[in-house]
């Protein structure tokens, strides 16, 4: 799967320098349309298992976006962690709570209008602010050019240097966080 994605990354890299990024744009818009549709299905579908499946599409789309943005390592992590772990967790959750596997008409509460209003308001405000601020700024990938030089064309190494350099303490703290989550989740979820 990852191998299949490699050309995409190549495609994106070819777009560096801002001269010719039509193919990347085409891919982006197709993926974006899918993602939005899938995301809407996640929050509207009346089948809980379908929601999880639509979520897979959204998360994969996010991974594709990362590739378009030349963040291969993050993209791979995204796929591994989300598809490999989180969605599986969701499926386990669905099974363990005996959720109805077919259609169910009681998945939503009576607050749809409020939800729509809040969602639209947020979109409008954020979109207005983004458009006013960033306008037509195009992506240049300048920052990556520098890190490539430093790390011998190996951005993953540069990423590692970043994590184990300036972000060392947060990284170590994260390990404690995962341990704590593990301990607590076991205590809460187990029968006793």
């Amino acid at each position: 799967m990852i191998a299949a994605l490699a050309p995409l990354s190549f495609l994106a890299q070819s777009a560096t320098g801002n001269s010719f990024d039509v193919p990347a744009n085409v891919v982006f818009y197709i993926v974006a349309a899918f993602m939005v549709f899938a995301a809407i299905r996640v929050v509207t579908t009346d089948n809980i298992v379908h929601a999880a499946l639509w979520l897979i599409l959204v998360l994969s789309g996010v991974g594709l976006n990362f590739l378009l943005l030349q963040a291969e390592f993050v993209a791979i992590t995204q796929i591994l962690v989300y598809l490999g772990a989180i969605v599986v967790l969701f499926l386990f959750g669905i099974m363990l709570t005996r959720a109805p596997l077919g259609r169910a008409d009681d998945l939503d509460n009576n607050m749809r209008p409020i939800g729509v209003a809040v969602g639209l308001l947020l979109t409008a405000v954020i979109a207005f602010a983004l458009i006013r601020t960033f306008g037509n700024d195009s992506l240049t990938f300048e920052a990556y050019a520098g890190s490539q030089a430093v790390a011998g064309n190996n951005r993953t190494t540069a990423l590692a240097n970043e994590i184990f350099g300036p972000q060392l303490i947060p990284f170590e703290v994260l390990s404690v966080l995962l341990t704590a989550a593990l301990i607590g989740a076991i205590v809460l979820a187990r029968r006793d």
Partner: protein, 98 residues
């Protein structure tokens, strides 16, 4: 490619996620909606990191890891509630109020 096309996509995902957490009654579905919100943040971070270097990517990795932990904890709490109430309808959790 424009910066804004990614940012706007993220904003839309964010809002859809917000809609989801407001209207979904099933605890697991609420957690899924939360994932939409967190992923929109990651798109933002990666898009900005093309300008500012790898800090954003590191941030995104941390967010992914934390999201995994949060989902785990969330599902544990959902399971706990399911065990006591035989239901994951979070809309019915209104014993504490006022």
């Amino acid at each position: 490619m424009l910066l804004n096309q990614f940012l706007l996509l993220a904003a839309i995902l964010f809002s859809i996620g917000v809609y989801g957490v407001i209207v979904r009654r099933n605890g697991v579905l609420v957690l899924m909606s939360i994932e939409l919100i967190l992923n929109s943040v990651n798109i933002n971070l990666i898009a900005f990191s093309t300008y500012h270097g790898l800090g954003g990517q590191v941030f995104a990795l941390f967010v992914i890891a934390v999201a995994a932990a949060e989902v785990g904890v969330g599902l544990a709490i959902v399971l706990l509630i399911y065990r006591n109430r035989r239901s994951v309808d979070i809309d019915a959790l209104d014993e504490l109020k006022g």
